[in-house]
């Protein structure tokens, strides 16, 4: 086990010294500030408009006032889902794309494999080390965003809100691990780091954009006619095929659960704890399945691949 920790520590140390990785991490946190600020401004603007409307109506003697807009504090962090979906995935790819190719190119892999260490320990150490980096990053994001909620949004988060953000962070971790493991798997099986990076990004874009768009195209549209204006609106509805395509996309799962946990999806703020937990577990399961399948492939490839050392 000590060999695993030794390798994990080295991976962590190398990642935090990588200037590109640090830059993207800072960008990620910077986007959180911007997102919280925009969310807070929007929230205050909505309330200001409502208050002005109510004041005008009261002056006019109107007694039936419009209902107060439902503004949930967590909505302010709504963009976090997109940041994790995009920047988080890129960070994961950056951590994993040269995990093995870099070792192979530098000759470090040969040095490690001539030590009394089982091959599986090496890959476990790398996975653990990079997983720890992701966990640390998301830990910072968690604390940082709760602090922003308080400082920028002037809202003291309730226990329920903290729990929702925490669950989102867990889902984000599983999501980022999918792309870490994918890039590590490619790194074992491909020769150049640049190719691994490129293919990893293509796979991520497929997950983030292509699959959801395909699913949207295959949705059934029902037409609704407005009885007053006569205008027609098309309302897309899931079909079995579109739903199946969505289920293949880790990014769709993250967006789906992120929207519910961060109260962006309409009606999600009113979901009971049990309903929300069920939704969360379903999404987590959907994110863990590719982690397990790709992880098993990664171990199998690494353990039987001699080309890692002889090229």
């Amino acid at each position: 086990m000590s060999a695993v920790w030794t390798i994990a520590r080295k991976e962590t140390r190398t990642a935090v010294r990588n200037s590109m990785f640090v830059t993207i991490t800072v960008l990620f946190l910077g986007l959180s500030v911007l997102s919280a600020y925009i969310g807070s401004t929007t929230k205050h603007a909505e309330m200001r408009i409502y208050n002005e409307t109510v004041a005008k109506l009261t002056v006019q003697g109107v007694t039936q006032l419009p209902p107060k807009p439902e503004i949930h504090a967590l909505t302010m962090l709504g963009n976090l889902t997109e940041y994790v979906a995009i920047v988080g995935a890129i960070l994961s790819v950056m951590l994993g794309y040269d995990a093995i190719t870099r070792e192979r190119e530098s000759g470090g892999l040969q040095l490690i494999l001539t030590r009394p260490v089982f091959r599986d320990r090496l890959i476990t150490g790398k996975l653990l080390g990079n997983g720890l980096v992701i966990a640390m990053l998301l830990g910072i994001v968690f604390v940082f965003n709760l602090a922003l909620l308080f400082l920028v949004g002037h809202a003291v988060p309730t226990f329920g809100e903290i729990a929702r953000v925490a669950l989102f962070i867990v889902a984000a971790f599983a999501y980022m691990m999918v792309f870490l493991i994918t890039s590590m798997l490619l790194s074992i099986n491909m020769k150049s780091s640049a190719s691994v990076f490129l293919v990893s990004l293509v796979l991520w874009m497929t997950s983030a954009f292509v699959l959801p768009q395909m699913a949207q195209t295959l949705m059934a549209n029902s037409t609704v006619v407005n009885s007053v204006s006569g205008a027609t609106n098309q309302i897309p509805q899931d079909t079995a095929v579109s739903r199946a395509i969505d289920l293949l996309s880790p990014t769709w799962h993250l967006r789906s659960i992120g929207g519910k946990l961060l109260e962006v999806t309409p009606g999600s703020a009113a979901l009971s704890s049990a309903a929300l937990s069920t939704e969360f577990l379903k999404s987590l399961f959907a994110l863990l399945v590719p982690c397990i399948v790709l992880g098993a492939l990664m171990y199998a490839s690494f353990l039987r691949s001699e080309s890692l050392t002889v090229e």
């Binding site: 390798i7 080295k10 010294r17 000759g107 490690i112 001539t114 009394p116 001699e306 002889v310």
Partner: protein, 255 residues
Amino acid sequence: MAEFAIETHELSRRFGETLAVDALTLSVKRGEIFGFLGHNGAGKTTTVNLLTTLILPTSGTASVCGNDVVDDNLAARQCIGYVPENVRLYNDLTVDENLRFFAELSGVRAVPRRIAEVLALLDRPGWHNRRVGSFSKGMRQRVGIAQALLHEPDVLFLDEPSSGLDPEATREVDELIVRLNREFGMTVFMNTHMLDQVTKICTSIGIMNQGRLMVTDSLEGIKSRFAEDRSLEDIYMHFWHNGTADPAPSEQVAR
């Protein structure tokens, strides 16, 4: 303790259609500095890869310090140190961090003390906190040797240790190899093209040609088969061109 540090019997390794190592039977005594000679593609690096457990043999057996490289590979790895041809290590880490990493992987106790000892042995005690990324090839080679010595191996494998080094660095490496052998009794197995280096420091040699071992003996033993005025280069070229395992009397270089 086994008499031989390295033993192979009918060891072969095939890559597709290519037989990189063909029925290699070889013994290297403990305490030897063994120079393994051959052209590019002769099978030297494949042999080292087999002996350092990096790849598996297609057939035959090999053992290092009495440990089979397939069945008892962890024990075999415990007694070997390996320096590849191009040592680049981890550029983002300092010398100390690089050496600590490899020392911990090798199960070294008292790591800081051992790192200090090894750097002192290389006459580079002030290198601890320097980033490897800023090092020249010669400096990296020294750190590469340092990492191989951390766990006090019985057998040191060096793949072209002086390749690309300037004459001064080459001489330093040679002196270090001799010192490791004489002071610490370390057996050294060295792949090399540099015949001068072999003549200067090796106690025995083997010559490979197209995956086959042409000859193996002490340096004196091999030289005694040829005319006195024949250099190692003449002898090496003889085995390379004739491609026979040993010279027949009629083929010998004129005495």
